[in-house]
């Protein structure tokens, strides 16, 4: 869709201001991307003779591996080609290019080239880099899904952080209780079911409170969300210091173990990365697919989006906006609470003070980065997770770059996206606006 519209009734077409702006920013984007391609070629020329070796476990950690011998120069050339093609395409097609999809084409090449550059002269196993990225992305992507459902319905969910924290605390206590009451045999099986369930319910309770305050009393959702976050922090700290430290048996939940998906786990190279994780990871992918389908392909999704974009119009065709918003808040609370249970039940887990550690806020950033779309949000969460995992790998292999630098990269990218420098993203129009049923 180029900015020139067909002449109507012989008049000179009025190109809308918005379209012109979109065209201009698309051009800037194309120039920037093409320039990056040239930079990549420039970097390649200096590093063709050095070596770097990447290894991947075929099926099991520490057993047979696949090996790729390459040099940073070759990786930079690949990145340059991918980036250059994208840049030229962008310049040619202008605003019609869905640049976010094209990111998937060229950004990974850059990431691999940068890793190769930093790891030059070394042999590095990359399997854990990718599987850890997926693990770290889970709570962030689930939080992003929760916030997204709310905003699509016209509500803000600033309280993702608090819902996760309460979910983590509730999951640990409920899981431990199951273990205590049912004994070590039944409890070890029941705990991992009871814990996340209770976590989801506690998240829903917070969601209900927020929805009630916002819908019934028109409380500013930013303020009530902030209050809930502080309340959740205070409440869980109190539980930890006054109750769980004394009765430590109630903070000793059975943990959720990694499972290998039959057949898929044995696929060479990909099996150890994708199919040997915790059930949480698989649930995250399922939620992503289901949400994408439901939001964009079903009646429920259409109504959800309508009440977020233009609730008055939705109401005139008979949609109960209030009910939709309540349901969205409850669903979001359940997802955020469930994500919280991951924090305390995964690995050698137990509840710790403030263990959500800002993941709820990162989730909101990921939602914006992902343009209020489940797949986009998951991709954004993966960027955050990868930055974390890459920093880990580099420090283990002794590459000395300040950890704060890599950790800040996803945030810088989010700021760039939010500021609209490389393409504006727009959220639901009426998110956070109270709706008065007429």
């Amino acid at each position: 869709m180029t900015a020139t519209a067909a002449p109507v009734n012989g008049l000179v077409p009025a190109v809308s201001e918005a379209a012109r702006r979109a065209q201009r920013s698309a051009r800037i984007r194309g120039i920037v991307i093409a320039a990056l391609g040239l930079i990549a070629f420039g970097l390649a020329s200096g590093s063709m003779t050095t070596d770097v070796t990447f290894k991947f476990w075929l099926q099991q950690q520490g057993k047979a591996f696949a090996q790729v011998d390459t040099s940073p120069g070759e990786l930079w050339i690949l990145a340059g080609i991918a980036t250059g093609v994208t840049g030229i395409w962008q310049l040619w097609r202008g605003a019609a290019v869905r640049w976010r999809l094209w990111l998937v084409l060229w950004l990974p090449f850059w990431v691999i080239a940068i890793m190769g550059h930093l790891l030059v002269g070394q042999t590095a196993v990359l399997t854990n880099l990718f599987s850890s990225s997926l693990e770290y992305a889970f709570p962030i992507s689930m939080g992003a899904f929760a916030a997204m459902i709310c905003e699509r319905s016209g509500m803000f969910d600033i309280a993702v952080e608090g819902q996760m924290l309460v979910g983590a605390c509730a999951a640990s206590i409920a899981g431990s209780m199951a273990l205590q009451w049912l004994g070590p045999d039944a409890g070890t099986i029941a705990g991992p079911i009871v814990g996340p369930t209770v976590a989801a319910l506690s998240g829903m309770a917070i969601g209900l409170l927020m929805a009630w305050l916002a819908i019934r009393y028109h409380v500013d959702q930013i303020i009530s969300g902030t209050v809930v976050n502080f309340g959740a922090l205070g409440l869980t700290n109190f539980m930890y210091l006054r109750v769980l430290q004394t009765y430590t048996d109630y903070n000793t939940p059975p943990t959720i173990e990694k499972i290998q998906i039959p057949l898929l786990a044995d696929v060479p190279v990909l099996g150890p990365i994708f199919f040997q994780g915790t059930p949480y990871m698989y649930i995250g992918w399922i939620v992503m697919v289901v949400l994408t389908y439901f939001i964009f392909r079903t009646r429920w999704g259409l109504r959800l989006r309508a009440s977020g974009e233009y609730p008055q119009a939705a109401a005139t065709v008979g949609i109960n906006v209030i009910a939709i918003r309540y349901r969205a808040m409850l669903l979001a609370g359940a997802i955020a609470g469930f994500a919280g249970s991951y924090l305390s039940l995964h690995s050698a887990g137990s509840f710790q003070m403030n263990m959500s550690a800002g993941k709820g806020w990162i989730a909101i950033a990921a939602m914006i980065f992902g343009a209020w779309n489940p797949i986009g949000a998951f991709g954004a969460a993966l960027v955050f997770g990868f930055a974390d995992a890459a920093q880990q790998l580099l420090s283990i292999t002794g590459v000395d770059i300040p950890p704060q630098f890599l950790a800040s990269v996803p945030y810088i990218m989010t700021v760039i996206v939010v500021a609209g420098v490389v393409g504006r993203v727009r959220g639901p129009a009426m998110a956070g606006q109270p709706y008065e049923q007429g």
Partner: protein, 400 residues
């Protein structure tokens, strides 16, 4: 609108009150070992075993020991039963009772209760008060200045001279008074023995280590591992490597972030990262984060090194993966400090220094691995220990 404002005010007030109740102790004490991850399986028997295992302290010159003394310990909130520092301090106190001293102890009810808790012990006529827990530093220092006739001690910490402005080297600095004893541990000596053990044990010749945050109390362990492995390499002409810590440049792998000490999932993933790069022993120095690492190593049939206390006892469910622990012998330190206070003798420099020589630091027993570690390796460890004690080998020499 009126109603909504009131609701918000009510919510905000409640939040503030609840936060206030839980108090300032949101700053978790970064003890390097897991603070408490007990299971139902961990019984009193286990902690009794802990005491037995840890009592390697020399009893000292008991002949002229004054036992007419009131010795007391101020525990941290919820500290008793941690199978770690607090329980070991209790054991030191019990040994003081057995020697004939009068003893009292008291446990803080919350972080705002530290000063009052120490006052309760003063009211009971205590002549020595040792506080457990980094969080009590402020309370102990204030009490030490206010009560110059009573001896005070603080486990795993030394005097903080920074004064009200929080900066060292300014006019309002407060010097350490004679009645304060910091209980400090040269844990790098014990960690060096553990590193040497790994040198002989590792099948792949690679060990991994990481810390929660880059604090001196954390890197001291990592320095020790580095030095021990280097000593092994030089002695045997081997090329065992340590990943995650470069003692020369003082850079390495740290959890960092907002939850460095309690993120077991991250600990697991870090351990997996080390195993990916070939390590078969991991030494996490990161509190509960490290529990995830130990669990991962166990699930792979590999090994880990514990820190601070004998973690094969404090984490019995993972004992089958814990080769040994670089351990601070709190009970010996507490007892030795009481004895010195009672005799009116002061430690050199004003602080108790736990070393291999005085039994203040050690590597814990090998438990399940005792029969698997060769006699040669054990003899090598003993020889290195002797050299560290007589000073012919120092950790520093091996950090270059």
């Amino acid at each position: 609108m009126q109603v909504s404002k009131r609701l918000v005010a009510l919510g905000a007030t409640t939040a503030i009150i609840i936060s206030a109740c839980s108090g300032s102790s949101a700053t978790t004490a970064p003890s390097a070992a897991a603070s408490a991850a007990p299971t139902a399986a961990a019984t009193a028997a286990a902690s009794a075993a802990a005491s037995a295992a840890a009592s390697t302290a020399p009893s000292g010159a008991a002949a002229s020991q004054n036992t007419n003394w009131v010795a007391c310990v101020a525990f941290d909130t919820g500290g008793l039963g941690d199978k770690g520092f607090n329980d070991l301090a209790k054991k030191g106190l019990d040994e003081a009772t057995a020697m004939g001293m009068t003893t009292h102890y008291s446990e803080a009810k919350g972080s705002t209760d530290y000063a009052a808790n120490i006052q309760r012990l003063l009211d009971q006529g205590c002549q020595s008060i040792i506080a457990v827990g980094f969080n009590q530093q402020q309370a102990v220092q204030t009490a030490a200045l206010a009560n110059p006739k009573v001896d005070f001690g603080l486990v795993d910490s030394t005097w903080d001279p920074s004064g009200p402005d929080g900066k060292v080297g300014t006019a309002d600095d407060i010097a350490q008074p004679a009645n304060f004893t910091g209980l400090d541990f040269q844990i790098d000596q014990a960690a060096m023995l553990a590193g040497y053990l790994v040198g002989g044990w590792s099948k792949t010749g690679i060990m991994g280590t990481f810390g929660g945050q880059q604090f001196p109390g954390v890197t001291r362990f990592m320095d020790g591992y580095y030095a021990g492995i280097k000593y092994w390499d030089q002695e045997k002409g081997a090329s065992v490597k340590l990943l995650g810590w470069d003692a020369v440049n003082q850079t390495g792998t740290f959890v960092n972030g907002d939850n460095p000490w309690g993120d077991a999932a991250k600990g697991e993933s870090l351990a997996s990262g080390f195993v990916d790069q070939g390590a078969d022993v991991v030494g996490p120095v990161a509190g509960s984060t490290g529990n995830g690492s130990i669990k991962f190593m166990q699930s792979k049939g590999l090994w880990a090194i514990g820190v601070d206390t004998d973690q094969a006892i404090s984490l019995p469910q993972y004992a089958s993966a814990i080769l040994t622990s670089a351990q601070k012998v709190i009970d010996a330190a507490v007892l030795d400090t009481f004895k010195a206070n009672a005799n009116g003798t002061a430690f050199a420099g004003g602080n108790y220094e736990g070393t291999l020589a005085n039994g203040g630091v050690t590597i814990s027993p090998f438990h399940d691995f005792d029969s698997q570690i060769s006699a040669d390796l054990k003899a090598g460890i003993d020889a290195l220990k002797a050299k560290l004690i007589d000073g012919s080998v120092t950790v520093k020499d091996y950090l270059k």
